[in-house]
């Protein structure tokens, strides 16, 4: 079978079954978009993790006037203790840098954060603890700092921001998994629709396929036009899905990012990577659904 004749047959097939072609294209577009949104939420979670984990610090709070932990029984941290803690922190190999925040600085930051709130007016500098902000070379190594400094005289508590963020990221992971699952199920739906559409197409064209068998066409050349119809619909659906994801990225950049400045958003190349994955999924699913269906309904 020559390419010219093949494409003519494919065109006739798609046109004769126009409503079904439309349904398949739309279904593939929607299901690939859903899967793409799942992939982009994954990219978004990763972008946020990168952004936040990079900023994570371990805070070593020193005993202040309000500290209640047993290590602070002797009252406010002494200058010797503070200096010893600082030099011990800096000596740890996992530590990248140590930044000291005095009560005054803590108060300034506090006022800045709650500047529109009544709380700020009831707080004075000596109520806030002084602390060391420790930046780690590898944020997963926070245990080292926690075990070395918890319970040391002069240290109130050692707090790792990662434990707070992790609860938040667990929630995001659940949402992302949900989005991916919805995407996968809708792709499965699209595969079933492609399969059923081809079954109908094979039934509608049983005269043609009957004649093809009669004159000795190979089963491959009988199935090829149907296969290409399925692939064509899937590729067209993929084009729409990619358009939709690009639109989503545009809206995020234009409307959402200026409002939510506390995080980074997924980059354009994540859109292209997702799109490439969607093309792979679309082709794989449509070819597989076609081959299984055609093997059953177009037996030579």
């Amino acid at each position: 079978m020559r390419a010219g004749f093949l494409f003519k047959e494919v065109r006739i097939g798609l046109r004769r079954n126009l409503t079904m072609t439309f349904a398949v294209v739309v279904t593939v577009a929607i299901s690939l978009s859903l899967l793409g949104i799942g992939l982009l939420s994954n990219a978004q979670v990763n972008a946020m993790k990168d952004y936040w984990y990079d900023k994570i610090e371990v805070s070593v709070f020193l005993c202040g006037t309000l500290s209640e932990s047993p290590t602070c029984a002797n009252g406010v941290v002494s200058a010797d203790q503070r200096a010893a803690i600082k030099s011990d922190l800096e000596a740890l190999p996992v530590v990248q840098s140590v930044f000291y925040e005095s009560q005054t600085e803590a108060f300034a930051r506090f006022k800045e954060r709650f500047k529109n709130s009544a709380i700020a007016q009831n707080v004075t500098a000596d109520q806030l603890p002084e602390s060391f902000r420790v930046k780690l070379k590898d944020p997963t190594q926070f245990d080292v700092v926690v075990s070395a400094f918890s319970g040391r005289p002069g240290v109130d508590i050692v707090q790792d921001q990662r434990t707070i963020l992790e609860k938040f990221f667990k929630l995001l992971d659940v949402l992302r998994n949900g989005a991916l699952l919805v995407g996968l199920f809708s792709v499965l739906t699209a595969a079933l629709l492609i399969s059923n559409t081809l079954r109908i197409a094979a039934f509608n064209r049983r005269r043609e396929t009957g004649v093809m068998k009669l004159v000795g066409a190979s089963s491959w050349s009988i199935q090829l036009p149907f296969l290409l119809e399925g692939v064509f619909s899937a590729v067209l659906g993929w084009v729409f899905a990619t358009g939709l994801l690009s639109g989503l990225k545009y809206v995020v950049d234009q409307k959402v990012a200026p409002l939510l400045t506390f995080t980074k958003f997924f980059a354009w190349n994540q859109v292209w990577i997702s799109s490439a994955i969607l093309l792979g999924v679309g082709l794989f699913v449509s070819v597989l659904a076609s081959l299984i269906t055609l093997r059953r309904y177009l037996k030579v």
Binding site: M1, R2, G4, F5, R207, E208, G210, V211, M212, K213, L214, V215, G216, A217, S218, S219, S221, I222, V300
Partner: protein
């Protein structure tokens, strides 16, 4: 060209065999009528040749191929050796006469140049050179059957099988079909035609094989339809 050795076919769920120990040989260039009542095994015989069915036992050779050992993916190759014509024509209703004939060539991968050469030649052979652009619904039944023959013959297969090709046609149109098949036979093609049409068989005086209850009860070199002794 076609050889049956002790071929028996029993369909699943049936006790009586459709063909029962059939032995026969059809040589290259022969014209053979296959006659017999409905249910005598004619259709089974033709289906076995095209390997639409497999025999329960026995050996079948068609165009040099042993159908018992022929792999499934080689079946299309067998069917390219055997042109088929049916009672109901089986033309594609939304393709023109020319396109119907060209369809065989297209699906077998002939070039446009070859198609442009072969199709008009076939139209001329079957006497429809001025009707190539018509749709099947716009021509008569006899003409449709001639198109079906052109489609079966355009690839020049060594064997043509015709299953009741005149079954739907008036006697005067049938004559045209028989002339055409005879002409194709004279060009060296083996023709096997299953028929109920006694007039045609009596007129042509070709080899006649009669089946009854799955047995070959008659095989005459220059036979007639009804056996009168």
């Amino acid at each position: 060209m076609i050889r049956f050795e002790n071929v028996t076919k029993v369909y699943a769920g049936q006790e009586r065999p459709a063909l029962d120990g059939v032995n026969l040989e059809i040589n290259k260039g022969e014209f053979v009528f296959l006659v017999g009542k409905s249910g005598s095994g004619k259709s089974t015989f033709l289906r076995l040749i095209l390997r639409e069915e497999r025999p329960t036992s026995g050996i079948i050779h068609v165009a040099g191929k042993d159908l018992g050992t022929l792999a499934n993916h080689k079946v299309p190759e067998l069917r390219r050796q055997v042109g088929t014509v049916f009672q109901d024509f089986r033309l594609l209703p939304n393709k023109t006469i020319s396109e119907n004939i060209a369809f065989s060539l297209h699906v077998l991968g002939y070039s446009q140049k070859e198609i442009n050469r072969e199709v008009p030649e076939m139209l001329e052979l079957v006497g429809l050179e001025d009707k190539g652009d018509r749709l099947p619904s716009e021509i008569s039944g006899g003409e449709q059957q001639r198109v079906a023959i052109a489609r079966a013959y355009v690839t020049k297969p060594p064997i043509i099988i015709a299953d009741e090709p005149t079954g739907n046609l008036d006697p005067e149109l049938s004559v045209g079909i028989m002339k055409l098949l005879d002409r194709i036979n004279r060009e060296g093609t083996t023709v096997l035609m299953a028929t109920h049409d006694s007039g045609i068989v009596d007129q042509m005086r070709k080899r006649v094989i009669e089946l009854d209850g799955g047995h070959v009860i008659r095989d005459q070199v220059r036979g007639v339809y009804g056996y009168t002794g």
